[in-house]
Symmetry: C2
Subunit: 341 residues, 2 copies
């Protein structure tokens, strides 16, 4: 008998999060506790407002899914086979909880269950949100041991922001344009970004502009990655030729099983793979990190951007992701929540 | 410390195997025994003559691979990361052995390790090799509980063979043309096959004729599956539009990890998936069977076509594949080899 509990947690952002689409100081995520025979599988949903999800709708979806769950041992498709349409963050949370439970039942870390070599985990980037050049400079200094920085763009101040970053660091940079550019302006921006030591750019144009993306890709000196243009594996074939790579996020695709399938499809099309995240605690970030040895680029820093992370899991050493060795996700509640600065 | 032993086994075919490309009475396969800490992982290579593989070349490749193997727990890519180019059957055997060893180390069946629900295993078809109409009739009567028959075609006697089969059974039929047709003759054959209750046709045209396949698919009343046209996941994108599905074989793709990736890529392209085999003992057949819950059609009968199967593993009940519950592949040597008839 499988039972489900869930609760909301409020994640406090270290810096007000400015994006092309808005700003915020806190994020709510939904934690799932899936219990069977004395073991508890943990999952976390970071609902995406853009897709009409919130913690309440995710909780309703999780409850509906739990009623139809059969054995968590069939972890590859247990959650997706009972998913509620549109509630992809809840599906991802349930998938994580199922994977965590399966690993705990068998007493092995999730990466081992999936046959993945944890020593292949890549470096992860640290995101610098959009802000005034002064604040961006301060954030870069905070980025500490992270070897790669990701810069959010999409405003009129793009050049000043990047110049501010380059003024204080020579680390490799990745740029996320969050659909903020136009085809006309993008080419010269890309050439300038290349001259500034940027290694790739995410989602320069709005998600629907695939024909424009094909044209831009032909002109671009930098690899271009899809983010808002890609959700699940079935989206990838039509992106071949328009993007050089894809950004996979558990909250967009519904979980670890679908994420692995997306990696396979991207590879078959000769595309590179980045593993990204939303603002999430170490619970969901660690789930994604278990797949990170399979990808080229990791951008798993959602837990680093908050002050009150309730969980402990994946860590970063020398910029590289270090997977926890405990059974399942290897995530545990933080014993001593850090004090707010 | 991982050590490798290997030996050849001679599989005696119940019926002389007639194909468009030749005939034979026995097949040699290579068995691998991968030992670590008192546990033994088993694998089997059925080398493919067409690709210049034989047991000797497979054995050399397996020895070379074993020298570079690291932890079998990273089973998803342990074998493929040390593969010898061109020796795909050896790669598949090593992959099976690694998966078997990983399952045995963790004490769980391979399907459970991979998170696959064994209750979803499909029916499997029973192959009727090309022969005279009289022998084909006798073979159909031998097919017993198998709910679906697969008929090998590609000769001038195709019509007589199919009519002989239909004369003794009304079971669903699948046809494997083994590249034996031409675009000109294929359309009328397909229409006739549909009228005879055939549900799908494999590889009607030679592997390289993709443009002709696109044309044939537009005209075909039956789903068309790629076999000789597809090896690995990276082959699949260019087959979309030319075939409705693919036939995955471990000996063509190099193992269970790549087979899973192929399933993901085929699904992303809206293609169906069949899991096939060569003439193999229950060792390699069982390895493939662990993935069968993920596919639409199983054609895993290589072990049913031989008289002296040295292994026991997957069984068939009511036409459906039943996965063994033991750790790893769940395959063991046959205690009492069946007497030859």
């Amino acid at each position: 008998m499988i039972t489900l509990r869930h609760y909301r947690q409020e994640l406090e952002l270290t810096h007000t999060f400015r994006l092309a689409r808005g700003a915020s100081d806190v994020r709510q995520t939904l934690v799932l506790e899936l219990e069977e025979e004395g073991l508890t599988g943990l999952g976390e949903a970071a609902p995406i407002d853009r897709y009409d999800q919130d913690c309440a709708s995710a909780a309703r979806a999780a409850e509906a899914m739990a009623q139809h769950l059969t054995s968590p041992l069939a972890y590859d498709s247990a959650a997706s086979s009972v998913a509620v349409p549109g509630e992809v963050a809840a599906e991802a949370a349930m998938d994580m909880a199922v994977c965590d439970l399966a690993g705990k039942k068998l007493g092995v870390p999730l990466y081992e269950l999936m046959g993945i070599d944890p020593r292949q985990a890549p470096v992860t980037s640290f995101t610098i949100g959009m802000d005034t050049p002064e604040v961006v400079e301060a954030k870069v200094r905070e980025a500490g041991e992270y070897e790669v920085l990701k810069i959010k763009m999409g405003s009129d101040e793009d050049r000043q922001i990047l110049e501010a970053v380059r003024g204080v660091t020579d680390r490799p940079l990745r740029v996320d344009a969050n659909e903020g550019w136009t085809l006309e302006g993008a080419q010269s921006r890309l050439e300038w970004l290349e001259s500034m030591g940027v290694e790739l750019v995410e989602q320069p144009l709005p998600a629907g502009q695939l024909e424009e993306m094909r044209e831009l890709r032909r002109l671009s000196p930098l690899p271009l990655f899809a983010d808002e243009s890609v959700y699940r594996a079935a989206d990838i074939p039509r992106l071949a030729g328009a993007f050089d790579g894809i950004n996979i996020k558990l909250m967009k695709c519904g979980g670890l099983g679908e994420a692995r399938r997306m990696i396979a499809v991207a590879r078959a099309h000769g595309m590179q793979v980045m593993l990204g995240c939303m603002v999430e605690s170490s619970l969901a970030i660690t789930a994604a990190a278990h797949l990170s040895p399979l990808v080229d680029f990791a951008d798993l820093d959602g837990n680093l951007l908050i002050d009150n992370d309730p969980f402990v899991g994946v860590t970063v050493k020398g910029g590289r992701l270090v997977l926890p060795g405990g059974p399942g996700l290897g995530v545990r509640p933080r014993a001593d929540p850090p004090e707010k600065p």
